[in-house]
Assembly symmetry: C2
């Protein structure tokens, strides 16, 4: 089966997008299309140029026998601002207000297209951080954790509040939830995380940060290194925030149940030099 350049470009684009952060040897493509390595290199430089121009991501080429090409996702500044603006507009809708000042966000987290955009934004920041595993807590953080992990080519592990027989032996800790000051339990399957892993924590919402502090304590039991913390929404309560370094896409500054207003603006994402 012979491939023309147009066919190679289409198929390679698809292949690279589906294998982010993976080193693909040039010989793989050369054999796949029965083409010379020099043609493959030309194709890759066309793909790289287009990916960079359209802010889809970038390709890095590693020379030598063990070399190849690697796709890294990158969300451009303009697209990132559009995504955050879209999120702010969605969240500011007063229909989201629930009794007690809680917000209904289930539909936003239930939209795979939004979740994937947010996942790409977070993955852009940590694309070169050599993350081994993305960790989240059941259940609302799960979709976002997968969206990030699929771009970073890492597994996801899920911390639970209860232990299940299908998890095998577990390690558990007790922690104090930051806002409600209740003692809660967190459990992680013993065999799910190798000691010394480089970990990115992802969650949907951070209030005082008690849950994330709990996760950090639990991860210490596995001698993990927390390389980053990323949340979709943080609520503005910095005076008693338990977590220091994190990125957030959206910040809730004021939820007024009486007036039925929700004040929301962009998080610290753009302050991190993520350009």
């Amino acid at each position: 089966m012979k491939f023309r350049r147009s066919e190679r470009l289409i198929d390679m684009t698809q292949y690279l997008l589906e294998h982010p952060n993976q080193l693909v040897p040039l010989t793989f493509f050369a054999e796949r299309y029965s083409s010379a390595k020099s043609s493959i290199s030309e194709d890759l430089s066309l793909i790289k140029d287009t990916f960079e121009k359209r802010e889809i991501g970038t390709l890095k080429t590693v020379a030598g026998a063990a070399g190849g090409v690697q796709f890294f996702v990158k969300v451009g500044q303009e697209e990132a601002r559009q995504i955050v603006q879209e999120l702010c507009d969605l969240i500011a809708n007063p229909d989201r207000l629930l009794p007690g000042g809680y917000l209904y966000l289930t539909d936003i987290i239930g939209n795979p297209s939004i979740v994937q955009k947010v996942g790409r934004m977070i993955a852009s920041v940590y694309a070169y951080a050599k993350i081994d595993v993305v960790v989240t807590v059941a259940t609302k953080g799960i979709p976002l954790a997968y969206a990030v992990a699929s771009q970073l080519n890492t597994p996801v592990i899920i911390v639970r509040h209860d232990s299940k027989v299908t998890e095998g032996p577990t390690v558990s800790i007790n922690y104090v939830s930051g806002s409600a000051k209740r003692i809660q339990t967190m459990v992680l399957s013993k065999r799910s995380l190798a000691e010394g892993s480089n970990v990115l924590i992802v969650d949907d919402f951070m209030k005082a940060g008690g849950t994330i502090t709990g996760m950090i304590s639990l991860l210490e039991e596995f001698k993990a290194n927390v390389a980053g913390i990323a949340v979709l929404v943080e609520s503005e309560r910095q005076e008693d925030r338990l977590v220091d370094h994190y990125i957030s896409l959206v910040q809730l500054s004021d939820v007024n149940v009486k007036e039925k207003t929700i004040s929301v603006h962009e998080g610290n994402y753009f302050l991190q030099g993520n350009e």
Copy 2:
């Protein structure tokens, strides 16, 4: 900004893959690249040919003023068999055996690359079924549900076993879990699902089918139409199976704790005429 054909092909491939099941007007691409519609049509036919040759999916063109092009995912028979074989090999590893004959599958469900492949396989079957929403139950089914939904361009809704304040008003039912014969509760946020929706149920594991029967009962309260049921793994216990029509990728036929053997083979996926 002018685009050459090679650049258009790369960017359109990326755009279409990222917007499955969405009708994209040709004028959108014509404006995006300042190109004539005739050039766009030629590009699309090159992409369609390559997608079909490589079994990535297909493009459908809808003529007329409201027309455009739509990408549908399609996993080829050969790739599907490879994926199922890979799953069987992974699952047959006796290290997965837990006390009580349970299997540790957390690492498989925690691998976004595997989950996405399985999601594409399931989405291939329901690509033309006009699914409105993918429904799953917390927590193990969530990653797979998102992988399917992102290919079908639908939201995901998650049935829970407990009700959370952030879900707003809920509808709940009691059901009898098929294997343990225990009475359990299932809860779904009232505003998460519109009446009369066309629903695809996705879960990771089906034993007797009690959980899925419970979901069907709960969905009846929303006057939903269950258009399909898909599970990653089913255990072979057909004599007391509560659910009739479903697709499974993998079937567990025998788990022997004493002999430390797990017998696993392909599910009914290939019996459905999914070619």
